[in-house]
């Protein structure tokens, strides 16, 4: 059997490192790119090179943008006095898709984890405390995962912000839209019952 050229093998190896792709699916993706070199591969390569050159971590919130300060942090309309704390850029994108939050964000870059030896100093918690002190912040919304690590981090941040006097809130936990009680785990049902409100 004829061997695949070395460059193409290297491309397949690199593609296989992407989330959701294994060696076989990477091979399929590369084959598709090779078949559509002009229409897909060349523009994709050009854009990827550009983004690799221009992408920056926002110095204020940690979001990924094309400048030292991201668009959200530059936008005066988003200076509502609310900072939403999220674990990762993916969470920021999820909240932005929902268009429900009009304030600014702060990306921690992970959560405290005993297993992975991630401590407070490995996260952007000191920067958050400094931001709350410097900016006219009314409320910090902790939008962290409802996991042991996520909530441990949330409690830690709430403690760290205690001295600033800022109001600290967290996302509600309970029945998701379209959720059926029969399929919910007992922890979610318990949290939903605890957070019930007048109807």
């Amino acid at each position: 059997m004829a061997e695949t050229p070395r460059d193409i093998e290297q491309l397949i190896d690199l593609m296989a490192r992407l989330p959701g792709l294994g060696p076989r699916s990477a091979r399929r993706a590369v084959l598709m790119l090779l078949k559509k070199r002009g229409a897909v591969m060349a523009p994709l390569a050009r854009v990827m090179a550009e983004v690799a050159e221009t992408a920056r971590d926002c110095q204020v919130c940690g979001n990924i943008g094309a400048a030292e300060i991201c668009e959200i942090c530059r936008d005066d309309r988003r200076a509502t006095g609310e900072i939403c704390v999220v674990e990762d850029v993916a969470d920021l994108w999820a909240l932005e898709r929902g268009r429900a939050f009009k304030g600014r964000y702060h990306i921690l870059g992970g959560t405290l984890s005993a297993l992975d030896a991630v401590g407070p100093d490995d996260l952007r918690i000191p920067q958050l405390v400094a931001r709350v002190r410097e900016e006219a912040t009314r409320e910090v919304i902790l939008a962290l995962n409802a996991t042991v690590d996520g909530q441990t981090t949330a409690h830690y941040i709430a403690d760290a912000l205690e001295e600033t006097g800022v109001q600290v809130t967290s996302l509600a936990q309970g029945v998701p839209i379209g959720g059926e009680l029969d399929y919910l785990d007992d922890g979610t049902i318990g949290a939903a019952l605890k957070a019930r409100r007048k109807f």
Binding site: A114, V148, T152, Q173, T188, A191
Partner: protein, 240 residues
């Protein structure tokens, strides 16, 4: 190879795209790791949290293989997510079990104590005293139990007031003499006597922490004790 047991999930990390490698502390088989196919999926994310009580079935072709688990949830600890101190307690328990216990070695006494402590985290506000006793049992199970029954110097069973940081044995007030300031003060709650104040629990945890750090040093290398335990101690200290 196949067995069924009941266990508490103490650690989970993703394995590939969809699977997970979990560590459970089981009633009969002790700390045991295994792969859970589909364990990293969102469907089972609520189950795959530290502290969840599981019915597990372990299968492997050979005994020394890592093998795979199939898991059924028995009890969630999600109620602890909103309680910062109890959550810190849960994290400390899982971290200590993971660091301290050798793999695949049953510890039925420690299992029973762990179950009682996990239940207390949800219902008993005095659980820090139970946590202290749990660390004592952990030391015992590791073979480094403290001897608090009689004075190491005089043999007396009365007026025990100190613990030797070298031997882990109790020392009476009379037996301590001029060495008293080099010994740990012995809180009475460590001997199961009387209610445990926050200060006494802190004193007790300083003692168990000293011996755990010393005995676990070969396992820990140059690393300190788990951060989760340190965080729990800081919170308990703030409460005093």
């Amino acid at each position: 190879m196949e067995w069924q047991d009941e266990g508490v999930l103490i650690a989970m990390r993703p394995h590939g795209e969809a699977s997970a490698i979990i560590e459970v502390f089981t009633a009969v088989h002790g700390r045991h790791a295994g792969v859970v196919r589909g364990g990293a999926s969102r469907k089972v994310a609520a189950i795959m949290q530290p502290g969840t009580q599981l019915a597990v079935t372990w299968r492997a072709r050979l005994e020394d293989h890592i093998g795979s688990f199939s898991v059924e949830p028995l009890q969630s600890r999600a109620a602890l997510l909103g309680d910062r101190l109890a959550l810190a307690g849960l994290s400390a328990i899982c971290a200590m079990l993971r660091v301290a216990l050798p793999e695949r070695e049953g510890h039925p006494n420690l299992w029973r104590a762990t179950m009682a402590l996990l239940a207390a985290l949800e219902h008993d506000p005095d659980w820090p005293a139970l946590y202290l006793r749990w660390e004592l049992i952990l030391l015992e199970e590791l073979g480094f139990g403290l001897d608090l029954t009689r004075c190491a110097a005089t043999g007396s069973r009365d007026d025990l007031a100190f613990v030797s940081p070298k031997t882990g044995r109790a020392v009476s007030r009379g037996g301590a003499g001029e060495w008293a300031d080099r010994l740990f003060p012995l809180p009475q709650c460590l001997m199961g006597q009387g209610p445990a104040s926050a200060a006494e629990v802190a004193q007790g945890l300083a003692i168990t922490g000293h011996f755990l750090a010393r005995e676990l040093a070969p396992v820990l290398g140059n690393r300190p004790m788990p951060e989760a335990r340190t965080r729990l101690l800081t919170m308990l200290e703030k409460r005093r």
